[in-house]
């Protein structure tokens, strides 16, 4: 019932020079409740456009996208978003950032404070409630962004390269956190990433997108995310199956990049 269904989604941009860019062409997919979808692809394949349409920041040129049978025609609380650079409000403290959504809804402050404490504990930031956001490290800022999004209890979480700006060690920790949250909350998640490894590790389903026009090139159903809930992520990376898939997808993306570069020259 609470599925995300995309039907013949098209997005055409006009550049300032007057050229038209077909960012998305005839996108059809269905995402069931509780699924974790990772989207991978070379730059310019329309990953972020897809996410922005799903979030409701932009409207598709044609086609319909529905969540819980309701057409998406604007930003909404039921779809939470996590950005690459956190997009935190640096003039607020951690707690004020996290309770931003609830404050805007004018919910009971005592209840809100309780919820904030709960979520800060889940993302591993207990005791940081009164810290100004600008004093946090990159990883901690992303934790705040996650908590800020999750406290609103959205049906669908959209993540736009959330771990892209983090160092390798922090990134691995955060990947575990994402998996943990996914398991504990059972939310539907769409995660966009540049990293093939990350896409394979986190994605229950994986779409590899191709550019010009932006479309779904290949679809995978992966076991690694469920494995990652029990095992160490590093162990999974040593898995033979994992390496084979990684090489396959890397090859695919390299070919696409070459195609684009060749065209440009």
């Amino acid at each position: 019932m609470s599925d995300l269904i995309s039907q013949n989604l098209n997005m055409i941009f006009k550049t300032p020079k007057g050229e038209t860019v077909h960012a998305l062409k005839d996108l059809n997919f269905t995402l069931k409740k509780g699924e974790l979808l990772t989207v991978l692809g070379p730059s310019g394949c329309g990953k972020t456009t897809l996410l922005n349409i799903t979030a409701g920041f932009i409207r598709p040129t044609s086609g319909v996208i529905t969540l819980n049978n309701k057409e998406i025609d604007g930003p909404g609380v039921e779809r939470g978003m996590v950005f690459q650079q956190g997009a935190l409000f640096e003039w607020l403290t951690v707690a004020e950032n996290v309770n931003f959504g609830l404050r805007m809804k004018k919910e009971d402050p005592i209840q809100t404070a309780k919820k904030v404490d709960e979520w800060l504990e889940i993302v591993g930031l207990q005791g940081f409630g009164n810290t100004p956001t600008y004093q946090l490290s990159g990883g901690m800022q992303q934790r705040v962004a996650l908590a800020r999004c999750l406290i609103n209890d959205p049906d669908l979480i959209l993540m736009d390269e959330p771990l892209g700006a983090l160092d390798a060690l922090t990134r691995e920790k955060m990947q575990s956190l994402v998996l943990k949250i996914w398991k504990e909350t059972g939310k539907t998640i769409i995660l966009i990433t540049h990293s093939v490894e990350e896409a394979l590790l986190l994605g229950e389903r994986l779409y590899v997108m191709a550019p010009r026009p932006g479309r779904i090139h290949k679809e995978y159903n992966l076991p690694f995310a469920s494995m990652g809930l029990k095992e160490d992520l590093r162990e999974i990376k040593k898995n033979k199956d994992f390496s084979a898939k990684r090489e396959e997808i890397l090859e695919m993306i390299w070919n696409m990049e070459e195609e684009i570069m060749g065209k440009d020259i």
Binding site: M81, A87, F89, E90, L92, F100, M104
Partner: protein
Amino acid sequence: MLTQIVTFLIFVAVIGCILYGRKLIKTEKVDAVFGNPERALGGTHWVIVGSSFLLLVWLYYSWDIAKGFYPKSANELCQVAKVNDSLLGLKYQFPIEEREFKSTSQIKKENKNLNLILNEIQNSQEIDNQQKTVLAGFIKKTNQLIPLLTNEDLIENETKQKINDITGKINLLTENFQKPDYPFETEQELNERLKAVSEEGGWGIVKVQSGTGSIENTMEVPLIPATDRGLKFHAAAQELNLISDEFFKLRNHNPQFKNQIKQLKDDIKSYRKDLSDSEEVASTYAKNIIKIARRIEFASIYPPNALNKMQNAIIKFDNAQLKTQGGLRFIDILLFPAGTIVASGPSCSEQGSGRWLPKPSDTFNKFILMSKPSVGYKDIPLLWIDMVDVSKMIGFILPDWIADILPGEYPVHTKDGIVKENFKGNVLKVVTGDFKLFKVPVPYGHIWDSFLRVFLGLVFGIIIGVPLGLFMGLNRFAKGFFDPLIELYRPVPPLAWAPLIISVLGIDNTGKVFLLFMVSLSIMIISARAGASGTQLSKIHAAHSLGASKRQILRHVIFPNSLPEILTGIRVAVGMCWGTLVAAEFLAGTTGIGFVENVAKKYFQYEVIWITIFIMGMLGLLFDITLRKIIDKTIPWRGKG
């Protein structure tokens, strides 16, 4: 006394700090290897050197060091200047400070002039040969006058006697001058002089007419001799004046010369009479020749050795007076920069840098004086507190028509001449502030007025400019609509609006506040707009998907995000407003710190001008420091987002 101590302390401080600094530099070589961040924080000693040096320059150029260490020197130097002036005419006759005798240079000059005229006449096309011969004859006769004056045999005994008399007087003066009790002043004369000295007052006195609040200009160097040494020079100068008058009345005219020049004058006179109107040129030449003859007649031309004794006498006196001057000369050169007193002549007026650079002590005294609320400037204190009843403020805030719209009539007096108040009348009393409550202190004065104008102009600019700027940054219609209006007035220098605004809104606060409002408005709009349009899209998106409404995004995301720009704008606006205000107060007004400076300028009250400059600088600095503190407190995240 204070100046001496201050000067001494400055020297000690400068030398001490330089020595300390040198010691530090030696250790800094070690620090360069191991590093010592704490030492990099210091450097106060160099600040002391810099400010001490500044103060020293001020003390020096305002003659305060001279005044402090040699309080009598200016008065004495003034007397020396008198002697120098009297001696100048006499010295001029001899090769003492000149290259040659005055007589020699006169003869050279007139011979040259005669040759010039002779040449011109001979080459002239407009004069016939006959007249050329006549004119050449006149020139020759004029030339022959000179030997009659320079011949030692022709000089008359009477003239010789007079020259001897004058020489004797100079020698006597020299002799007396060297005596310690010269000019032999009687007790009565002494008392009279001392009385005059005390009436004239000291050097650099600040005369204040208390009550009127006006501060008169300072009196500079006193003219009446106050010391014995000064009196000596003063008396000698007077005597020298008499002697030189006598000398310049003297003429070396012997009978032959007198005959010759009379004959020449008569000849030229009759020659010019006989000339017809058409022979104008020849007549002019003849006139020029007689001019030269007259110059020779009145020049003090003497035979070469006739004045030798007198020359020696003058040199002797000059040496004697230089010896009596002693160290005074060096004080004049070293401690009176740019406007040395002796060079300024017998009037002893203080010219040059000393005029515009008042003495620190005078400036300080005047500042203390002006700070007193009873003196102030133009009957208004610089900054003081007035007790004002709260009722006045209530009456000012409440509009009078509140009483008018109440039912009923205002009371009318009865036939007994008594006015019985009713409710409507009582309300009118309240809204006009005609009652007593309690008093609160309210600041007033020049500084407060200026401050209030800037503050009000700024506050109005912020209240209107920030929302408008944010609106323009977010809404294309608002940007398109308001942009031309603002861009129409903003590029005009604010002072260009001032005459218009002041003539429409009046010279008082309204006009100035409006002018400053205009200044701050455009700055606030631009900064708020830049802040609003510089908000990252992802922040707005994030707020959106967290369920914030448009109004909430404006209040909770865009406004705080633009705060750094807005606060920077306020800082810029304060500086601009402050500058504009002072200039606007120059144009018109009755109060304010700019008004004070403008009035002081009219009366050449340099101390007051410097005080206002200082106050303005300090207030500007205060504004900036306060704002910087506020900025650091309110937006600690700036540059870290």
